[in-house]
Symmetry: C2
Subunit: 406 residues, 2 copies
């Protein structure tokens, strides 16, 4: 696997565009992704009981035939809690894109992110769709435009592309995503779009995405709030002309590894760019008796407000880590736990047998001064492991979320 | 029921003391509660998988015979994650109290709050126990001393007493509690102690406490972290000489109502005194199909970081409320939801049928300017309801928890 320049337009047959159409005040707010050939589609969606109109739309399309050619994405307005009018607006948005591209409306997927409870400005979006379709292009710059147009309070764009060889053919996968900040942050919506020219069956595409999201986007936590609009969509148009992946052979796992690499890379970017974040926090749990135990403990630690504030303060407050493990929805033996803090500045054991090691506070604080902090937890109960990512909890998190309309 | 002056020493036969013995740097750090007559005991304890030594000790005593005469409480050190030595220290602490009071060690309950992972300074505590026993007294001031000695970063002491008439006898109930702040905050430990002279069977005492804690302490959230040391203990010594409550008659419910009043009052105090809190947040969910649905939705909203920061910013950001309801572990119909903001400054409907009402932002902000904010949510699915309490998330929360050792 090789990381290559590019993003959402890198795989064969994909083009994209990103423009400012007037939903937001100044910045780009409309993105379009297009596959010249009908693609297999898979998606994972928010588990929030309140689902935005585009989430319901996409879930239905994937259930019906799981194919598609376009994804239209707006930022600025989430089209959530918008009732029947929101459902109609979403459908009209898809219809306008379908007409402009001369494709079936059931091949057009939709994503929205932004303020909850506001209706989409359909006249502005209608004009935007007319403007964006002629701009579709497959160069790197057009992918960058799309990556920027889906941003809200993200402080940097998030994109990546890789290539792998599958059954002798060169296969490319590209992706853009956005994280947990918004200009008008009603909430932290996470969106990710992946394009690939890999020839893979619908069933295995679905399974690979599900498994990969489980180990990447589902293992990050910024503030514990699950949005109404979260989604990850993948399009596979088969234009790499590799022999189809339709069984779980080595090539399937090669594809899955590449997908994992992309999703983990972008999920970490989303965590590192959490609202007000100054540090990326990685929690590794090893020696677990099963995957579920490891994942549950890692997520509980990375989501603890007390751990996040301690990390912000560069304070080796290991009691909070053990405590957060204790209220995870799993059982473990605290008397066997080891904890290390690891950064580019060093590695220090702070807990052994569930108790403090008498480590040097000065050394621990020095190590925690880095921007990328790993908490490595060893259970000694088995051989499974899991990793979760998050960020510190800073003054700026409160500022961004308390003051957004003042 | 009548609220009366006093606290933990108000009921007949109870005395208390609170002193500085040297565990903390300056402030009172050791409290003792004593019943002159053997009392029925009930307790509820943290559900954290990692339980501090005193939690394990008390759980065992209550399981064995459920009686007691004394509770010794230290602040400054939590005696959690302290291994075998911590278990031994806890037992020695109980033994020293038992010897000084000339009672059986199995009648002495223990509570600790403070830094995790440090051993108790047993010499200091031993001297403290010698000093505190002669100070036991049943005046109001001694109860205040005990209320102060269990505080950590609490900004005010928490105590209350009430009297009721049960089967012709005057029955008193008093209580002290501490909340979610610590000078060295390894975590937010919640402790509450209740004394009553009511004559009530062990079984019904246990049931009343369990039910009452469910509607009070279990319905507050400061930062979502569940401590290793949380506990609520009640002592009932029967010295009011009322005919025993041993069936669920009207007098049982009268006692339960009084207990609820006390526990809800103190739980709200704990929420209002959350670390860095500037506002008390009350979330009422009505019209639920069952109690579990109402409680789950109320707790999800009160615990949402995005709701808490919006309340801090006095921002009527109702989308975050609907979103937090959506990720609660229950199902509801968002299209039927109504939401009101209510304070002493007014009452405003901001959501109807799951959508914004077109309310005045100025009016909403004015209403949210108050210190005690109620979010009243109506589901229109049934007749059950629940209330949860919390606080806003402020810059100071981050400051207190990030910087505590610098």
């Amino acid at each position: 696997m090789k990381v290559i320049d590019g993003g959402i337009t890198t795989a064969n047959g994909f083009s994209a565009a990103g423009i400012y159409c007037g939903i937001k005040k100044k910045r780009k707010d409309l993105a379009l992704i297009f596959s010249s050939k009908n693609a297999n589609m898979a998606g994972t969606f928010t588990i929030n009981n309140v689902k935005a109109a585009p989430v319901l739309w996409n879930e239905k399309l994937i259930k019906e035939d799981g194919e598609g050619q376009a994804i239209i994405i707006n930022s600025g307005v989430a089209n959530a809690c918008t009732g029947h009018e929101g459902i109609e607006n979403n459908k009209n948005m898809a219809t306008m894109v379908a007409n402009a591209l001369a494709i079936d409306v059931n091949k057009v997927y939709v994503a929205s992110t932004g303020v909850i409870g506001k209706q989409l400005p359909m006249d502005v979006i209608g004009n935007g769709i007319k403007d964006i379709v002629p701009k579709l292009a497959s160069d790197i710059g057009s992918g960058v435009d799309a990556a920027e147009a889906i941003m809200t309070t993200d402080t940097f764009k998030k994109e990546i592309a890789v290539e792998i060889f599958i059954k002798g053919a060169k296969v490319k996968i590209g992706s853009i995503s956005k994280g947990s900040g918004m200009i008008h942050p009603n909430m932290a919506t996470m969106l990710a779009f992946i394009t690939t020219d890999c020839n893979i069956s619908k069933d295995l595409l679905k399974e690979a995405l599900k498994e990969s999201v489980q180990d990447s986007y589902n293992m990050i936590s910024v503030d514990g709030d699950t949005s109404t609009n979260d989604m990850v969509l993948i399009m596979a148009n088969g234009m790499a002309d590799n022999a189809i992946i339709d069984t779980k052979d080595d090539d399937y796992y090669k594809f899955l590894d590449a997908l994992n690499y992309i999703n983990i890379h972008l999920a970490k970017s989303v965590a590192a760019d959490g609202e007000g974040a100054t540090k990326l926090l990685e929690v590794n749990v090893e020696g677990a008796k099963d995957k579920q135990q490891a994942a549950s403990l890692a997520k509980s630690v990375v989501g603890s407000s007390l751990v996040k504030t301690a990390v912000h303060g560069e304070d080796a407050n290991w009691g909070r880590i053990i405590c957060a493990m204790g209220y995870a929805d799993t059982i473990f033996n605290p008397d066997e736990v080891k904890v290390y803090f690891e950064t580019a500045r060093g590695n220090i054991k702070i807990v052994e047998n569930g108790m403090g090691t008498g480590y040097s506070e000065e050394e621990a604080t020095e190590i925690l001064g880095d921007k990328y902090i790993k908490l490595n937890i060893f259970l000694q109960e088995g051989r499974e492991k899991a990793t979760a990512w998050g960020c510190d909890l800073s003054y700026d998190y409160v500022k961004i979320n308390a003051d957004y309309r003042t």
